[in-house]
């Protein structure tokens, strides 16, 4: 991390969830996944366990990284309400993934804004997982 950026992307976004619109697409982004990162996501954080196949914990991690890149940082204050994961193929513990994201839904209820993102994760041209995130603007 350097100052207020990480890998050239601001830590916090100037984008607000209300600025986004349903159908808005970002990417695809190339996301390297290292075996070392896979190892720390195989159990309790702080422990490491090597393996050939990436643990499921890479799915929320990679999508979080991509969301940060898509929105030029993380909009501050959002609360993660739900995630869903549809696993379609194994992901190697070390590989390069292509991740596309679309704003799949926006909904305002009781004066609060709910934004859903759909991520499509591909490994070597094959869809490995579909991931949805729903965030409520705090």
């Amino acid at each position: 991390m350097q100052g207020d950026t990480l890998d050239g992307v601001p830590l916090l976004s100037q984008t607000r969830y209300q600025d986004l619109h349903a159908g808005q697409e970002f990417g695809p982004f190339v996301e390297p996944l290292s075996a070392a990162v896979s190892s720390v996501l195989r159990g309790e954080l702080g422990t490491e366990r090597a393996g050939a196949v990436a643990p499921a914990g890479v799915l929320p991690l990679v999508t979080l990284r991509v969301l940060r890149r898509a929105l030029s940082g993380i909009p501050p204050g959002g609360v993660l309400l739900g995630q869903s994961f549809d696993v379609q193929a194994e992901i190697p513990s070390g590989c390069t993934l292509d991740v596309a994201v679309v704003v799949s839904d926006k909904d305002e209820r009781d004066g609060r804004l709910y934004t859903t993102f759909r991520f499509t994760i591909e490994n070597e041209g094959v869809v490995a997982a579909l991931v949805d995130w729903t965030i409520r603007d705090a």
């Binding site: 991390m1 990480l6 890998d7 992307v9 830590l11 916090l12 990162v37 720390v40 996501l41 195989r42 159990g43 309790e44 954080l45 702080g46 393996g51 050939a52 196949v53 990436a54 643990p55 499921a56 914990g57 929320p60 991690l61 979080l64 990284r65 940060r68 993380i74 501050p76 204050g77 959002g78 609360v79 993660l80 309400l81 739900g82 995630q83 869903s84 994961f85 549809d86 696993v87 379609q88 193929a89 194994e90 992901i91 513990s93 705090a138």
Partner: protein, 132 residues
């Protein structure tokens, strides 16, 4: 109905080091997670973990139950985050119920912190993957 292998209980400590590590690998430095002063004035009054950190306990439980490293193709997981995980908490994941249908098995799992529910997870898998 087949007798399935019991779904394991998994406990994870979510301390400051775990939250810092997740911020580092994810790039998510939302001040709710990393800035004690900001978090103190926020909705939870204290630094809280990134949502996916609690999910780690679910994933370890499922992987242990299935005897695999990752989730096999055909598995879906639907997660509802019910409450914050304050720094220093121990997250406990356990199964509420395991339901068997003709083609699928559904695990209703939950994570708690001090008996307070912080996460619900619905894990669906093809019946052939369920461990007997």
């Amino acid at each position: 109905m087949t007798t399935l292998k019991p779904f394991p209980e998994v406990r994870h400590l979510v301390d400051g080091a775990a939250i810092s590590m997740y911020a580092e690998v994810s790039g998510d430095y939302n001040p709710l997670h990393v800035d004690p002063d900001y978090a103190a004035a926020g909705p939870f009054g204290v630094v809280v973990a990134h949502g996916p950190i609690a999910l780690q306990a679910v994933y370890e439980a499922v992987a242990t139950w299935l005897g695999c490293e990752g989730l096999p193709a055909g598995v879906t997981v639907d997660v509802a985050f019910r409450g914050p995980v304050p720094i220093g908490s121990t997250v406990v994941c356990s199964a509420v119920e395991v339901l068997q249908f003709a083609a699928v098995v559904v695990v209703m799992a939950r994570c708690t912190v001090d008996d307070r529910e912080v996460l619900q997870a619905l894990v669906k898998l093809p019946r052939r993957l369920a461990p007997a």
